[in-house]
Symmetry: C2
């Protein structure tokens, strides 16, 4: 896929992140795309759902699996997420054998793709993921900064 | 808690693992205990649910969160699981701030507590978990071996 396609899907992930922001959630959004179509889109729902596992990526993965009917169908899919995945989500991406991970901005405190460790490309695990980082990085990063500034007020 | 308590809860996790075995699933079971009571118990449901994230630990965590109504309530809980958690489940244990992880047997191929990495005690993440390994190790390990022998037949 071309860079423009990546920006197209990341913009949808950003729309999802904006929804999380409006709900007082850490503004992270995710999209799963298969054959250039959106399969699922979701945002962080941790506070709303009282579920610390309801990260944008996990919700998008579960929705996609429900829709596609079988977990093996994600092996050609790409997951777009505005912020670098944490260890749980990186592990879920490996479990579901997603082909490509595209993320916006790094999470230097908990990122498990480049920042603290690299779970999605660990050669000892039974699946490795293609990674593209920095798509719409500034937009994704600014939304996070805006959220944490608003929290401090 | 005393060793006997740990064996009590691990035996329930083993009962769950036996249910998974009977369903043709990789036989892993999990229990979440709070104040010496069982809050949730679950087994691996990956094939049944067509969901590669439906590991025993994830299912038990979601059930416990639903039951307790708020994710912060797991901070005094112990999670018992027959096999060392993978990166996804180890990450979920950190996210939900579970106090204690007790597991039976190591997973040398994908374990993210001792075997390949240690996500639950990474000082860079915002929560670290107490770990007790090797409770009913032989029983947990033998059930896994029996399953993989039966698969090859």
């Amino acid at each position: 896929m071309f860079a423009l396609d990546h920006e197209f899907f990341m913009n949808i992930a950003l729309e999802e992140a904006e929804k999380a922001f409006a709900l007082g959630e850490v503004p992270i959004g995710a999209v799963i795309a298969l054959s250039s179509e959106v399969v699922s889109r979701a945002h962080n729902m941790k506070e709303q759902c009282h579920d610390a596992t309801a990260h944008a990526e996990m919700v998008a993965i579960r929705q996609a699996l429900e829709k596609l009917g079988h977990w093996r169908h994600l092996k050609e899919a790409a997951l777009y997420v505005t912020v670098e995945p944490c260890p749980m989500c990186a592990g879920a991406i490996v479990q579901t054998r997603i082909k490509t991970l595209v993320y916006g901005t790094a999470d230097i405190k908990a990122g498990a793709v480049h920042s603290l460790m690299n779970i999605v490309q660990d050669p000892r695990l039974n699946h490795q993921v293609e990674v593209i980082a920095g798509v719409l990085e500034q937009e994704c990063s600014e939304l996070m900064k805006k959220f944490f500034v608003s929290l401090r007020k």
